[in-house]
């Protein structure tokens, strides 16, 4: 019974990680035509990504036409994620504090409403934003992408900071007020430092989701701006090419680093 459970669990983790392992392994496969048939080790696909000319037998395998496109997509993703994270963190945190500590009419309803953006399927939100922007006559641009991401990421930050706030003793703020601090000073000197791990965690999550968002961006990116996931989605739709493995491996690697960083930040907080 016990060993059956263990076996099942190990199979589960294999199921989760096998596909990622496949990508990493085949990103070093030299075979340009059928990338699933091992043909020797190569770093060519990585070199190709960074603009080095790759000598390959002429084949119908179409490589990235232009490294600049890839880098531009990455740059767009980073820009969007940076602004989105900043805005969503500020707005989400202020909502969490207002709902956690204030008292006002409709408080409960607002709390429930704030969960909706997380639960709304992204295709609905995506096309909604598309019609909305076009009906208002807004040009699809970086700005519309950032607004689009913020609509649901505010909620993610809100939920995480709220959870942290719920575990915080209100007496801390009462003590601060008792000692003569105004609400604003209490916010700055007591509440925000106490909430910092939650705020940081929320920001990290917002950044990761923004970097990874495909569906909403896909609808509202317009023609001039492409983020990394949309770019890869396009490549896959046009047919599977070996460079994708290399890009995917790099993305997996960076996500492991980010997740590790998040974990390390959390672990570092506890012993103190």
């Amino acid at each position: 019974m016990r060993s059956l459970l263990t076996l099942w669990s190990l199979a589960f983790f294999a199921f989760i990680y096998a596909p990622l392992a496949v990508i990493v392994a085949y990103s070093f496969n030299a075979n340009p035509v059928n990338m699933m048939i091992w043909d020797g080790f190569t770093l060519d696909w990585y070199r190709g990504l960074f603009g080095a000319a790759v000598e390959r037998p002429a084949s119908d395998a179409l490589y990235i036409e232009n490294t600049d496109q890839l880098l531009a997509a990455l740059r767009t993703s980073l820009t969007v994620a940076f602004f989105t994270t900043t805005i969503a963190t500020v707005l989400g945190t202020s909502l969490a504090i207002a709902l956690g500590r204030g008292r006002f009419v409709g408080q409960k309803a607002l709390g429930g409403f704030l969960l909706l953006p997380m639960m709304m399927p992204d295709i609905v939100l995506g096309i909604g934003l598309l019609i909305f922007f076009l009906t208002l006559g807004m040009q699809l641009s970086l700005l519309t992408i950032i607004i689009g991401h913020c609509t649901f990421l505010i909620s993610y930050v809100f939920v995480i900071v709220q959870a942290r706030l719920a575990g915080l003793d209100p007496a801390l703020e009462e003590a601060s007020a008792d000692l003569g601090a105004s609400p604003f000073v209490t916010l700055r000197k007591v509440l925000i430092p106490q909430l910092a791990p939650g705020i940081l965690g929320g920001a990290l999550l917002a950044f990761v989701i923004s970097m990874d968002d495909l569906v909403i961006t896909y609808f509202i990116a317009g023609t001039d701006n492409t983020t990394l996931p949309v770019f890869i989605f396009g490549m896959i739709r046009r047919g599977v090419k070996p460079e994708i493995n290399a890009i995917a491996t790099l993305i997996i690697l960076s996500s492991v680093v980010i997740a590790g960083l998040g974990l390390w930040l959390r672990a570092r907080k506890t012993p103190a």
């Binding site: 496949v22 085949y26 639960m119 909604g128 909305f132 997996i252 996500s255």
Partner: protein, 290 residues
Amino acid sequence: MRQSTFLAALLAPATLFLGVFFLGPLLIIAVFSLLTPGLYGGVEWSFYHQNYGRIFGWADGIMEIYEPVYLQILLRSLGFAALTVGLCLVICYPVAFWVARLPPRARLFCLFLVTLPFFSSLIVRLYAWLLILKPSGLLNQTLLATGLIQTPLEILYTQSAVVLGLVYVMVPFMFLPLYSAIDNLDRSMVEASMDLGANRVQTFTKVVLPQTLPGIIGGAVIVFIPSVGNFIVPDVLGGAKGLMVGNLVEQQFLSARNWPFGAALAMIVMGVVLATLLYASARARSAAHA
């Protein structure tokens, strides 16, 4: 600064932002779903109910033709989502149990392993399945090499591939609420049940399952909702046979250019989501009162 001014300063920007850019789009979908499609894309601002008629069967048959296929795809989406929920549950429950019994350090590590894929790109993970399921992909190569099959299996671009992809993407979302419910389960409950004479099966069905039900429902909801409206998974793995309602919506907006019809489809997805949420929160509330 007065307390209420302070509160308003915290609340106003975010509420205003979401009011405009979240509620606005949802409202405009509702409006568009009742407008007349324009001849060359776009809309004419006049009331029109046949967008829904095309789906549910009261189209006039001239301008708009009722096609049962839309309803079929809608039902298929619901079915896929339900199947995904069921499979995720069956897959995750034993694992969550196993992880909850590990020593603290190993437990943390396992949780990290489960959440890690969430941090890595969705599209990359689906792409991996594309590589594995292709006719010349890893799965077929392995099966052919071991002699288990003689001709390559056709998995990619089937409904199975879509469900497999959905399960793969959604599994962490089921795992976490299940794990937290099982981890919160007071072990003395299990001991009390056995102490009172219930065997392992009775203890599981009468105590463990009911006590972890909130986690099961929570996991089911957060897996079901994104699955219903998913369009990336069927797009990458499903092909024509695995279309879901999300693909229909996308087609109406980006290729067919029939926005009102797409909006009507999106409204239905939204309706399903809201109904699910209302059901779940009603359940949670009744559980809290019990």
